[in-house]
């Protein structure tokens, strides 16, 4: 009885905490393709680009930020405001992605 009650309390705490928890959204780069090409995130989430290529790539927003993603490495960006932007690789502009960030 007692343990069951504890379980409910624990569950309630976990559920209550869940919406505030920041997530990491992974984008894989393989053979010059961002996948998934379109991602959705909430303010405070982290986007992690995992580069499987032997080439360096970037995630660049024209007139905005740029993340360098070295070959066979990963790079991250924590999104701080709600926005909807196209991004591309500056070295290979034929690589394209889209990022939508919403308020939590």
């Amino acid at each position: 009885m007692v343990s069951r009650r504890h379980l409910w309390v624990a569950l309630a705490l976990t559920m209550g905490a869940a919406p505030a928890k920041a997530e990491t959204i992974e984008v894989t780069i393989d053979k010059l393709v961002f996948s998934p090409a379109k991602i959705e995130a909430k303010v405070g989430d982290t986007i992690k680009w995992v580069n499987k290529d032997v080439f360096a790539h970037t995630a660049t927003v024209d007139g905005g930020w740029e993340v360098m993603i070295p070959p066979k490495k990963a790079a991250s960006l924590t999104v701080k405001k709600a926005v909807s932007v196209d991004y591309f690789c500056r070295f290979h502009p034929n690589m394209k992605g889209h990022l939508t960030v919403t308020s939590p």
Partner: protein, 174 residues
């Protein structure tokens, strides 16, 4: 100048098509590997000339990207031919590409400063366009080994990316 070099390269592929079509209608895998590898080496050589001659940051950065990417593709190509036990085979297309690139370098050597930067970047746009065409219409369809075909497809995406990158740099030099 632009038109002339494009015409010269078009001639390259016409010339090379004849002896190859007599042999087997299309290049063999060892020949394809050689052509793709040569195309990369030639772009690295062009970039090294630009690194010596240019003072423009955009052009220097672009040339460094070319060296880095083409050396990376060619390292993959070497690893693959070793794994497949294929010996790249010299052929008329590789020879013609090499000859045309040497002529282009000699021509670019005469330019200085901003004139060199413009001529180099224009030449890079034209060169990547030509190689893209060859990859799409001849090399990829002719490749019989699946791994070689896949590497060529990645190479095509790299070359297409460089063509767009070169066009972007050309736009900034205007």
């Amino acid at each position: 100048m632009f038109i002339r070099s494009t015409a010269a390269l078009a001639a390259v592929f016409l010339l090379s098509a004849a002896p190859l079509s007599q042999a087997a209608d299309k290049p063999t895998d060892p020949q394809i590997a050689h052509i793709a590898y040569t195309a990369g080496v030639l772009d690295v050589e062009a970039a090294k000339q630009a690194l010596k001659k240019s003072k423009n940051k955009e052009v220097v950065d672009f040339a460094k990207d070319m060296v880095r990417d083409h050396e990376a593709v060619n390292k993959q190509a070497l690893d693959l031919v070793k794994k497949l036990k294929v010996t790249p085979e010299d052929n008329p297309t590789s020879k013609a590409l090499t000859k045309a690139a040497a002529e282009e370098r000699a021509k670019l050597a005469k330019f200085k400063g901003a004139a060199f930067d413009k001529a180099y970047v224009a030449s890079e746009v034209a060169y990547h366009k030509q190689v893209n065409g060859a990859l799409e219409t001849l090399l990829i369809p002719s490749a019989s080994n699946a791994e070689l075909k896949s590497l060529l497809e990645t190479g095509l995406k790299i070359f297409q990316g460089h063509e767009q990158h070169a066009e972007h740099v050309a736009g900034m030099l205007k």
